[in-house]
């Protein structure tokens, strides 16, 4: 039995690696396509934060619902959204997840309970409360996960959402990605508290911190939070400490932080450190890792090819999907 247990775990650990590598490579491809002028608008890369989405979503069920912020590619990939459709969306193609009407900041796949990235900071938090009202009413055992950054904590909508979720005892898990910066302003210059999860106490909400650079720790922290929320005890705030390796968006000069700080965090790279751990524990080999990397490379190349070859939306569809007719 013990051997079998390890086998299952190993498979899952390799899947964690694959998903994180896929997110990293996908984001690199986004940077390339942005540089080529094929992706317009804003692109916010998830590089460095991969362990948060992958570890967290491994603790969820297909019936669960997710809303997130505009740095949403990693979340969508961790939820299993088709990378071809995602890349097509980024290139503004009719085959995209939103048929080219959403773009990078608004990835949706309702079939996977992935109910969107939102580009107004904190705007999805009240909606997640409402999703949870629906879940509670339907008694279908689903929970809602709402991902937001430390910047969103500065908005009133965060506080209103914690208030409502707690008052109404709703099945919503608030997953805070604390990457230390709201665009270019550091947390210490924008919030008078370092341990942000402690804000939950003001709303009588259960909360805990977790290391967002460690995919296994992320999963453990999330499993505990998910169990709490699914059992009907009410909302939960999980604060994942992490770091954004790239700028806020592709347009960011990163003039507000030191190279030394970046190096400090890059030593904690969630993918490289995880790989070292897997090899040290004899759970994988360099050769197996290479195989995963090759498969990831192929998937991302295929996604880019699919996106490039897809047609732009037909202008006659300008007026579709505004209202339900």
């Amino acid at each position: 039995m013990a051997t079998k247990q390890i086998a299952v775990d190993k498979q899952q650990l390799m899947e964690f690696y694959r998903q994180m590598a896929l997110i990293r490579r996908f984001e690199d491809m986004c940077a390339e396509k942005y540089a080529e002028g094929k992706i317009g608008g804003f692109v916010h890369l998830y590089v460095g934060e991969e362990a948060v989405a992958v570890g967290a979503f491994s603790a969820l069920e297909p019936r669960d619902l997710i809303m997130t912020h505009y740095r949403d590619h990693g979340h969508a990939i961790a939820r299993g959204v088709d990378t071809k459709k995602m890349m097509a969306e980024l290139l503004g193609k009719s085959t995209g997840t939103s048929k080219g009407k959403g773009g990078s900041m608004h990835i949706f796949d309702a079939s996977k309970g992935f109910l969107g990235g939102y580009a107004i900071v904190a705007a999805m938090l009240p909606m997640a409360v409402g999703l949870a009202m629906g879940a509670k009413f339907k008694k279908d055992g689903s929970i809602v996960v709402c991902i937001f950054g430390d910047g969103a904590m500065q908005e009133g909508e965060y506080h209103e959402s914690m208030l409502l979720a707690s008052l109404w005892n709703l099945p919503v898990l608030f997953l805070l990605e604390n990457n230390g910066y709201g665009m270019g302003v550091s947390l210490e210059n924008s919030y008078p508290l370092k341990e942000l999860y402690k804000t939950a106490a003001a709303y009588n909400v259960e909360a805990a911190p977790v290391d967002g650079m460690d995919v296994e720790g992320m999963r453990q922290g999330m499993l505990k939070a998910v169990e709490y929320v699914r059992s009907g005890k009410g909302p939960y705030l999980l604060e994942a400490t992490c770091y954004r390796f790239k700028g806020h968006s592709m347009a960011d000069p990163m003039s507000y932080r030191t190279r030394a700080e970046e190096e400090f965090w890059k030593k904690k790279d969630p993918i490289a450190s995880f790989k070292r751990r897997l090899i040290a524990a004899n759970l994988t080999t360099e050769a197996d890792i290479q195989k995963i990397e090759a498969a990831v490379e192929k998937e991302v190349q295929d996604a880019a090819k699919f996106a490039e070859e897809s047609p732009a939306p037909d202008v006659k569809d300008l007026y579709t999907d505004i209202y339900v007719e």
Binding site: L115, V129, A135, E160
Partner: protein, 325 residues
């Protein structure tokens, strides 16, 4: 046909919606034991209980956003914002979320949400409690904006709104709740996006909506005694706007006076005037006249408040000017 008040008509329509569909719930400030600021939801808490008649904390962005989320997750929420002035605290949820998610998701998501609120001045409630802001919302594609003027229309338009799967801002008027009118007992609806000729006439077209329809009708009665025959058009919905009914009327009368409660600059009737000029310019015997609120924050003192609001005397004057009398 029974004669009932505007308040009873919307009360009955809400009750009917709650009885028909258990996914319907109402949430808002003081709608429970208090019975609603305008007593519209009186008695509902006893009949339907606190699970479906939900008193919210004073967190407009939070509970309007929760309404959006609940609608996305299959519920039929009816959210009450005590007055349209407070809707400004929920502007992000209405404009950035409710109106846009269907498009941003490429049609994957529906938002069958009704936001009921109350507009208008005349109660000496001073500058922040007396505004008519529905025309701001009417500029936003993705929303529908409904402004009923009579008991018949409010009930019929509410039923039509319940059949929609789009976000609707349902704007009632604070001074109309006690107004009375005929309402049939049977099932009927009033289509959204259809203006209504409330009085037939051949000399001048008076265009308005909500309470100003009654000012127009009263002016028309007085003018009839002088031998001036006015047609009164009630827009009933601002988005989608049925300008055809207005244009047809103007083609018949060759004169138009547009009446609204909000400020003249950027008022909704600027849009209506523009449509008349675009589509019926050659039919006009004189300029389109506009009667609107004065360009001031509504003052408290009774005489100042009255001076700032559009009056029947101004309508009479405008019609006399157009008729050369």
């Amino acid at each position: 046909m029974p004669v009932i008040t505007y308040r009873d008509a919307i009360h009955d329509a809400l009750r009917e919606a709650l009885i028909k569909d258990d996914r319907v719930f109402i949430m808002g400030e003081d709608i429970g034991p208090y019975g609603g600021s305008y007593a519209v939801t009186k008695g509902f808490i006893d009949e339907f209980g606190p699970q479906r008649i939900i008193d919210t904390p004073i967190a407009e962005s939070g509970f309007v956003g929760a309404g959006v989320g609940a609608a996305i997750n299959g519920m039929r929420p009816i959210v009450e914002i005590m007055t349209i002035n407070f809707s400004l605290l929920a502007l992000d949820q209405i404009v950035n979320n409710a109106a846009k998610i269907r498009s941003m998701s490429g049609g994957q998501v529906k938002i069958p949400l009704i936001v009921r609120t109350v507009s208008g001045g005349g109660n000496q409630l001073a500058a922040t409690h007396s505004q008519s802001l529905e025309h701001w919302y009417a500029t936003v594609p993705g929303l529908k904006v409904v402004c009923p003027s009579t008991p018949y229309d409010i009930k019929g338009l509410f039923r039509a709104s319940m059949k929609e799967e789009n976000p609707i801002l349902f704007v009632e008027h604070s001074l109309l709740y006690r107004s009375r009118g005929e309402v049939p007992e049977g099932d009927y609806t009033v289509p959204i996006g259809l203006s209504d000729v409330k009085r037939q006439g051949k000399d001048v077209t008076l265009v308005s909506y909500s309470r100003m329809v009654h000012v127009a009708l009263s002016a028309a009665e007085k003018l009839a005694q002088e031998g001036i025959d006015c047609e009164v058009v009630d827009l009933r919905t601002l988005r989608p706007l049925d300008s055809n009914t207005v244009v047809k009327s103007v083609m018949k009368t060759n004169r138009a006076v547009l009446i609204e409660e909000t400020w003249k600059s950027g008022g909704f009737m600027a849009e209506v005037a523009s449509r008349i000029y675009e589509e019926a310019f050659d039919y006009l015997d004189g300029p389109v006249k506009r009667i609107a609120g004065k360009e001031v924050p509504l003052p408290y003192a009774r005489n100042l408040e009255l001076a700032a609001m559009p009056s029947e005397a101004e309508v009479l004057q405008a019609v006399h000017d157009l008729m050369g009398r």
